[in-house]
């Protein structure tokens, strides 16, 4: 048995989990400083990077810290001095570094973090959903969500380029286990990134204070500038998309050209959903998917271009509704909203097929939980 199936591209093919693919991308990005604390299911990313630093394959400082809060504090300090920086975390680790996520975004420092998206306790659960990464959406970070190990690789490299151009930290999300621990064929492209750029640097000997207590409108202006620049980062993401695998920019439009029904989703489980969409297409149902590759900046324009029948499938909730359901409806469209797959609850092709069938048959409630 032999085929030319995967022989379309020019790079080196490797079988890698999304964790391993991200580590490969970070190796190619040549960071100066990596700081991280292990947590399932992210740990293999920083374990692999620690091996690379240990063997001399990667010339970077790997700072072992006692907590995720310290990991982000080290990243913050190193970035202030002009270092290219990387960290990775999941779930409770992200919760623990949450305070520092605000500081690094507010300080307008470029940084890249991978998040293997996992549920947050209680009840205790190590499996996948999007609860953790969605908590970043108010901080001012750029938030990307990959669907495959290839996209995790490409998006991580793009993250360095975009973050360092717009002076905003960038989180790359991958679904726990179904991506983080699932090995797939990845084309390793040896991308050459621009030199590290950033708005300001503070080096030893410089007499500069930052982030002093603000009075008057300073904080208001800083938050406004960050919000405006975060929106503008969309242009940079779109412009650089073809240098990093051509995945579609802010969104991937899957079979949407003539669609009467649109499903809005993000993350690794979109692959199973696309197979279900193909099954419905074979039955003559005009259905497609708008895959949100980015949660921040939110792809408002793409949402506004959707047909009127919209189903948003969420893997994180706020109150009774899904977070993406609320985000999508804030663009001025009517949506039906399903919350599913929390705590790694498996949603496979057949589950998606039945859900989408119910949607096109008009039998879905406005908000439903798939339990």
């Amino acid at each position: 048995m032999r085929t030319e199936g995967n022989r379309n591209d020019s790079g080196i093919k490797k079988l890698l989990t999304s964790n391993e693919a991200i580590a490969e991308a970070v190796r190619i990005a040549k960071p100066d400083v990596i700081a991280a604390y292990p947590i399932t299911p992210q740990s293999p990313i920083v374990e692999r990077l620690a091996e690379m630093v240990g063997s001399g394959e990667l010339d970077a400082s790997f700072v072992r810290v006692e907590s995720e809060h310290s990991a982000m504090a080290v990243i913050h300090g190193a970035a202030t001095a002009g270092a290219r920086v990387f960290t990775a975390t999941s779930s409770h680790g992200l919760a623990y570094m949450f305070e520092m996520c605000w500081w690094i975004a507010g300080s307008r420092l470029p940084a890249v973090m991978a998040v293997a998206t996992r549920s947050i306790g209680a009840p205790w659960n190590i499996h996948g959903d999007h609860t953790d990464i969605m908590s970043l959406r108010d901080t001012g970070w750029i938030i990307g969500m990959a669907e495959s190990a290839q996209e995790a690789f490409d998006m991580t490299l793009q993250a360095f380029a975009v973050s360092e151009e717009v002076n905003i930290p960038f989180a790359v999300g991958i679904d726990a286990f179904t991506m983080s621990h699932t090995a797939e064929v990845v084309e390793i492209r040896d991308v050459r990134l621009p030199e590290r750029r950033q708005a300001y640097r503070i080096l030893p000997g410089m007499e500069v204070a930052v982030n002093a207590v603000t009075v008057g409108d300073a904080r208001m202006r800083a938050r406004y500038d960050l919000a405006v620049d975060l929106e503008k980062s969309a242009e940079v993401i779109e412009r650089t998309d073809n240098e990093f695998g051509s995945h579609g920019g802010l969104v991937e439009k899957y079979r949407l050209e003539d669609a009467e029904y649109a499903v809005v989703m993000a993350g690794g489980w979109c692959g199973d959903a696309k197979d279900a969409i193909d099954m419905l297409r074979d039955e003559g149902v005009k259905i497609g998917m708008l895959r949100l590759r980015f949660i921040r900046p939110f792809p408002e324009k793409a949402v506004k271009g959707l047909p009127s029948e919209i189903l948003v499938v969420d893997r994180a909730n706020t109150g009774i509704r899904g977070i993406l359901g609320i985000e999508t409806s804030s663009c001025g469209v009517e949506v039906e909203n399903v919350v599913a797959g929390l705590g790694g609850l498996d949603v496979d092709v057949d589950n998606f097929y039945r859900l989408f069938r119910k949607f096109v048959d008009g039998k879905l409630e406005k908000v439903e939980w798939l339990i």
Binding site: R2, L15, W269
Partner: protein, 171 residues
């Protein structure tokens, strides 16, 4: 074409390594492939699954395999209820099944080649050989995959895989 494989084994027998070796070998033959462990805490001796997908098209689904085309059973004491077309068994004899049964004494081959850890036969090498034969994966691709996945430990393992590839029988 999409082939879905479920491996039934015990924690510590090398089921996940087997999945990775075979997915890499399939990739080297031009296929898209996927290797997936069972998600959750793995314990030595407990029953665990690993999954492989092989296709000539991009594989998008990432949920665990529910209806495998091929079953690989590392320990015949593990009860498996399935209608898979192909079963690949670590056993000196076949057992009755509606599907085609491949069988090889992988434990013996592993022990003979010194693939033992803490008293446990590590079955990833011989079972990879048997599955490669059943799935029509070439021995050269299997060898390259084993060196890619196992590095310097690959030589002994490949000898065991090659033996299993050559002696596996089927009904």
């Amino acid at each position: 074409m999409l082939i879905e494989v479920t491996i039934y084994c015990r924690g510590g027998q090398g089921g996940v390594t087997t999945a990775r070796i075979l997915a890499t070998a399939a990739m080297l033959q031009g296929y898209y492939s996927q290797a997936m462990p069972q998600f959750g805490p793995e314990r030595r001796g407990a029953r665990v699954n690993a999954y492989i997908r092989i296709s000539d098209r991009l594989i998008r689904r990432r949920s665990p395999v529910k209806k495998p085309d091929v079953l690989v059973i590392f320990d015949r004491k593990i009860e498996v209820d399935s209608e898979a077309e192909v079963l690949i068994l670590n056993s000196p004899e076949p057992f009755s099944s509606s599907g085609k049964v491949y069988y090889v004494d992988a434990t013996e081959i592993a022990e003979k080649n010194g693939l033992v850890n803490a008293g446990w036969a590590i079955l990833s090498a011989p079972m990879s050989g048997a599955v490669a034969r059943a799935l029509d994966i070439e021995l050269s691709a299997l060898k390259e995959a084993m060196y890619a996945e196992l590095g310097t430990r690959a030589e002994k393992s490949f000898n065991a895989a090659k033996e299993a590839y050559e002696v596996v029988k089927w009904t």
